[in-house]
């Protein structure tokens, strides 16, 4: 695990991440395995993004109750504007070593078909999702270190 200079833990969990492009692009992205409402998916780490943004087919499989959503809002994702709904959902970051985290985060579910969504994956944004998670990437070993910021 990663530690501060004074031996306080920086991370309490670590999981392998997959560093690869979003096909058919060529630039690498960081894919993290997570669970949303106990449904395992991969999501791209997007520190410039907000919320956990779900691929529409994955969201459908998870099965969100529309009556629990707030309105229809638009969200800009990778330069495109999508309408969708906001929900609160459980998000789990498993650890292969150390301790995993379970959080309640804001999730954006786009109201589009898979064709309209295109090749975009699910995303893990900062605001509304990872904002209280301390994390670091080791691209040499494809590892994602993490912990809650209240953890030391």
């Amino acid at each position: 695990m990663l530690k501060y200079q004074d031996d306080r833990p920086f991370s309490k969990g670590v999981i392998s991440c997959s560093i690869r492009p979003i096909h058919p692009e060529i630039n690498n992205r960081i894919f993290i395995q997570i669970e949303v409402e106990d449904f395992p998916i991969e999501a791209v780490l997007d520190t410039g993004g907000i919320y956990c943004v779900l691929h529409p087919v994955m969201a459908e499989q998870i099965g969100f109750d529309q009556s629990e959503a707030v309105g229809t809002h638009s969200q800009r994702i990778r330069g495109f504007s999508f309408d969708g709904n906001l929900f609160k959902a459980k998000l789990t970051i498993q650890a292969e070593e150390g301790s995993g985290l379970l959080q309640e985060v804001t999730v954006f579910v786009p109201d589009v078909t898979e064709d309209e969504w295109g090749d975009l994956p699910s995303f893990l944004g900062l605001t509304g999702c990872l904002e209280f998670i301390r994390f670091a990437i080791d691209p040499g070993n494809d590892q994602f270190f993490f912990s809650s910021i209240g953890d030391n």
Binding site: S16, I41, V57, K88, L101
Partner: protein
């Protein structure tokens, strides 16, 4: 007042009262100006210079027209709620907020919202401002407004829901036991990327269970379940 302009206010085509009201009043007061000499911001500035008392008088007049029709009396209730108060300053700020939201001027929108005293606003109006904030990407503002709105209107279910959904992430547990097998999926993705590039796959602990060219086809042919540890992803 020129009643011919009032008669053009088409009850059947009302989609957004804010937009209609704003467009109507702009047309009403600026019809003497050459449109080519006015850019959006300048015409709005002229509009905001107009005494808010006149706007209130117009609102009362329009409400009178609306209340004289069967459809209008229902619509007029919603219209009254959108302009939350007869206070001149609040009406003026509300018009600005609507305008800046429509043109996507985040800075001016935020400035205008800060001028409002939320205690003077109805739950629906606060919700409308939150909606504008969300659509403009002003997430933290939306979050703060939902929190304040929920405190002011404890009886309003919608605002309570907004507050719940927009509140910051909350860590529920930070002691989940490790799941070392997750690494096997990452290894499989690395080793098989060339073969399955662009395909959707279902893998569990490094074993491929199914693949398909689209997520839709994959979930159609393979039942995906919660708590199954079966990872669904696109290579």
């Amino acid at each position: 007042m020129d009643t011919t302009k009032i008669s053009q206010f088409n009850l059947d085509n009302i989609i957004s009262f804010e937009t209609q009201f704003l467009n109507f009043t702009k047309e009403f007061f600026l019809s003497d100006f050459d449109d080519t000499d006015i850019v959006e911001t300048e015409s709005y500035q002229l509009f905001t210079d107009i005494d808010a008392k006149i706007i209130n008088q117009m609102k009362s007049f329009i409400l009178t027209i609306l209340n004289s029709t069967t459809d209008g009396s229902q619509i007029s209730e919603e219209f009254s709620d959108i302009l939350p108060t007869t206070d001149q300053a609040v009406v003026s700020e509300w018009v600005k907020i609507t305008y800046y939201a429509a043109v996507g001027n985040n800075e001016k929108f935020v400035e205008s919202v800060k001028q409002l005293n939320l205690r003077e606003l109805t739950a629906d109006t606060i919700k409308q401002i939150i909606d504008y904030s969300l659509d403009m990407g002003l997430i933290i503002m939306a979050r703060n407004l939902s929190e304040q709105g929920a405190m002011l209107h404890t009886e309003n279910d919608e605002l309570q829901k907004y507050h719940r959904i927009l509140s910051p992430p909350k860590v529920i547990r930070k002691d989940l036991p490790p799941y070392p097998q997750a690494e096997l999926n990452v290894r499989w993705l690395k080793e098989n990327r060339a073969t399955y590039q662009g395909q959707w796959v279902a893998i569990k602990e490094g074993i491929l269970l199914a693949s398909a060219p689209s997520a839709r086809e994959l979930v159609t042919k393979f039942e995906c379940k919660k708590n199954s540890k079966i990872l669904i992803t696109r290579v």
